[in-house]
């Protein structure tokens, strides 16, 4: 099997040949200057602002799209997550909650309760994750306006835990919650030199379909249930 780097020239055309009819249609020449793109005025685009109670707004909007939200204090986190897992009958779980101080104690505590906590890093890809009952993750950000969780891939975060198991438990710190998507882009831009993750998943609800007669069904390919634990004050 070949590696991407040693594949020979593509079967299509080269870049300049491809661009020729594009430039012809536009009446442009290569390298011709381009005016600034339309300005994205945050005043216009912003549909939620920091002056609002963003935690409540987030909880409300996430609820509207079918996710279950609870708001807790930091010291209630482990108990809350254990109870949620017990409620859905999850026996086998995996977690990627590295950004939380309680990460280690959460795993230990779950194991003590008899929940098998799988190390998803042990095997490449999603192999280990298909058999899980629940995936527990923190988030890179959350958006109040749309009730959205943003889960990005990195060394500590698989693409799979918010997708593969039937239940996703997302732990959202109050400080993760941004009012609007414009704030997320601003934050991303504010980290100079940062390499983008290969995957940023904006999650707004449990997996859904209305393909059969327009009837809404959850849990098609991704999780049918998404629980959001909002940790206030952190």
């Amino acid at each position: 099997m070949s590696n991407i780097s040693d594949t020979p020239a593509s079967l299509g055309v080269d870049r300049q040949t491809f661009l020729k009819p594009v430039r012809q249609a536009l009446g442009r020449i290569s390298g011709q200057a381009v005016p600034a793109p339309p300005a994205v005025d945050p005043q216009l685009v912003r549909l939620a602002s920091a002056s609002e109670d963003v935690v409540s707004l987030f909880a409300q909007r996430a609820g509207e799209v079918g996710m279950t939200v609870c708001r807790i204090k930091s010291d209630e986190l482990i108990r809350t997550v254990s109870e949620l897992l017990e409620k859905v009958g999850a026996k086998r779980v995996a977690a990627s909650v590295g950004s939380l101080p309680q990460a280690v104690s959460l795993n230990d505590s779950l194991r003590r309760k008899g929940v098998e906590v799988v190390d998803w890093r042990a095997t490449p890809g999603f192999a280990e994750q298909y058999g899980l009952d629940a995936g527990i993750t923190d988030v890179h950000a959350a958006l109040a306006e749309t009730g959205t969780l943003i889960c990005s891939s990195d060394a500590g975060h698989s693409r799979g835990l918010s997708l593969v198991p039937p239940v996703h438990v997302a732990i959202v710190r109050q400080s993760d919650i941004l009012p609007d998507m414009v704030d997320y882009w601003a934050r991303l831009r504010g980290i100079p030199g940062r390499e983008l993750p290969s995957s940023q998943a904006f999650i707004t609800g449990p997996s859904k379909t209305a393909d059969i007669e327009g009837i809404l069904i959850t849990g098609v390919h991704g999780p049918g249930q998404v629980f959001i634990v909002v940790v206030e004050g952190v």
Binding site: V22, L26, V40, V182, W185, P206, T209, D211, G214, I215
Partner: protein, 512 residues
């Protein structure tokens, strides 16, 4: 011809013949050319089930769109649409620049970008990638572009089992049917047809419960994700500044197809570019609310290159196939605006004609008002003479469009092109020119109006429907007119003019 669901859903079950096998999805989207809409449209309008499904579903979506956009954007809605339109227009106006930027940035992120001028090249590139990867099983998420290039049979032909994973597309594939709506592909099918297809093709126990049907599909497709070595997706947006590919899905299959297999190939048309993440944000806010009434689709997946060395999960190889396939033809100034389309489907839902004839009547991959524009552009105006004409020009599509494509204006423009290229029948050209000439002078105009009145009222007198009374109001009715007017009276009665015209009244008043 089997454009309507009744054939695929009712005929076979009673006869014991496998249901749906009579439906050849390919022929639905690639009919013999030139394509005449009448046969399918007449059949569709006579199909009560199709009307029940498509009409009710699209009408409901249209109502939802209006409620949701007005709740979310309020007073800003007009400005939002203006901005969405301006972003897409600017990007198209300088598309060479943004393609170059995208290619540079995607390549830097580890993506292999390929350039395909037509469907054959795009498919050849993909087959080559599949061969090199030694692919045996491909999972595919929804992509209109791969419908356009007819990729699937070609993958199957080289021995790569290819599974559509979007629930609707999966069902269509099992039932040898074809998508009829760009967002809700199986809008024309009912649950019974799904139940039968699952029973027949998957050996599943017969159930009509959508929840159970969905679970059957889930279990079946999970096994496919687990084993797949190739994943194919489309792309809703390409971000030039970062080289990212963005897909918007609801079921999660899109994330699986782009993350589980070792190799990911994205087929994307060149019109999908936006300059930056900020611009992407504007388009995302418009897309889901206009399309399905959601604040965002459940999964908006922004992919920037393959799996990084330190990451777990994600493809080792990521390919983007940039496709022209006729788009640079539309990119010319006269039609460029058409390429702003973000495939939200709002114009289909709002269109009275689409509601009544369904997607397969358009005889092409892209249906509805936007399809009526771009299909003749892609595949030849002379091949699709009905598409620009089978519209009442009501403007509902223009009102619904989040990027303000003036669809009625361009339908008329295509009609004008048909006249100038003499695609319009010579007899029609003669009639309109004579008509225009008679309207060009007062006396011929009056004469024409008088003759029409006389003929209609004489016919009504013969038919015995002529009412006498108020000379400016009482009229007769005709129910069987000859020639082209017969199209009118085949459906409804034709009123005759009253005894006197407005001009006669004005003259009788001795007004200046």
């Amino acid at each position: 011809m089997s454009s309507t669901p009744s054939e695929s859903t009712t005929s076979g079950h009673d006869t014991g013949k496998p249901v749906g096998l009579s439906v050849n999805g390919h022929d639905l989207l690639f009919p013999p050319l030139p394509y005449d809409i009448h046969a399918r449209a007449d059949k569709a309008t006579a199909d009560k089930q199709l009307l029940d499904f498509v009409h009710v579903a699209t009408y409901r979506k249209d109502v939802t769109r209006r409620q949701v956009t007005s709740a979310a954007f309020g007073e800003k809605h007009g400005d939002f649409r203006e901005l969405g339109a301006a972003i897409k227009q600017h990007t198209l106006d300088h598309l060479d620049h943004y393609i170059e930027k995208f290619v540079d940035n995607a390549t830097a992120a580890g993506v292999r970008v390929h350039f395909a001028q037509d469907a054959a090249q795009a498919n050849a590139i993909c087959l080559d990638i599949a061969r090199r990867a030694g692919a045996k099983l491909c999972v595919k998420s929804k992509s209109m572009v791969t419908e356009e290039t007819q990729l699937l049979p070609q993958l199957e032909a080289i021995g790569v089992e290819t599974v559509e994973t979007d629930l609707g597309e999966f069902i269509l594939q099992l039932d040898h049917d074809a998508p009829s709506h760009i967002v809700t592909p199986m809008i024309h099918k009912n649950r019974q047809s799904v139940a039968r297809a699952f029973e027949r093709e998957l050996g599943a126990p017969y159930t009509e419960d959508p929840q159970e049907l969905t679970q059957i599909a889930r279990a079946h497709l999970r096994e496919k994700y687990r084993k797949a070595d190739l994943g194919i997706s489309g792309g809703n947006f390409l971000v030039a500044e970062t080289g990212s590919v963005v897909i918007c899905t609801n079921e999660g299959n899109g994330r699986f197809c782009t993350s589980a297999p070792r190799v990911h190939v994205a087929f994307v048309g060149i019109e999908k570019l936006v300059p930056t993440f900020e611009h992407l944000g504007v388009m995302l806010k418009l897309l889901a609310r206009t399309s399905t009434g959601q604040p965002l689709t459940v999964y908006t997946h922004v992919m920037t290159g393959p799996r990084r060395a330190h990451e777990h999960g994600g493809p080792d190889e990521m390919h983007v196939i940039l496709l022209d396939n006729g788009r640079t033809e539309i990119l010319k100034p006269e039609t460029r605006e058409m390429l702003r389309c973000i495939r939200c489907g709002a114009c289909l839902n709002a269109c009275p004609v689409y509601r009544k004839v369904g997607g397969h009547s358009y005889g092409a991959v892209y249906s509805g008002p936007i399809g009526a524009l771009i299909t003749p552009m892609f595949r030849g105006l002379a091949n699709y003479p009905d598409l620009p004409n089978a519209s009442s020009l009501c403007g509902a599509c223009y009102e619904a469009c989040p990027v303000k494509i003036n669809i009625p204006k361009y339908l008329i423009q295509l009609r004008a092109e048909m006249v100038s290229k003499r695609i319009t029948k010579w007899s029609d050209r003669l009639v309109y020119r004579m008509w225009a000439r008679s309207l060009g002078r007062s006396w011929t105009y009056r004469l024409g109006g008088w003759a029409q009145k006389l003929f209609f009222r004489w016919q009504a007198r013969v038919a015995g429907t002529l009412e006498l009374g108020d000379p400016y109001r009482s009229r007769g009715w005709l129910n069987d007119l000859p020639g082209p007017a017969g199209g009118w009276t085949s459906q409804r009665d034709m009123p005759t003019p009253p005894a006197k015209s407005f001009r006669q009244w004005w003259d009788e008043q001795n007004r200046p």
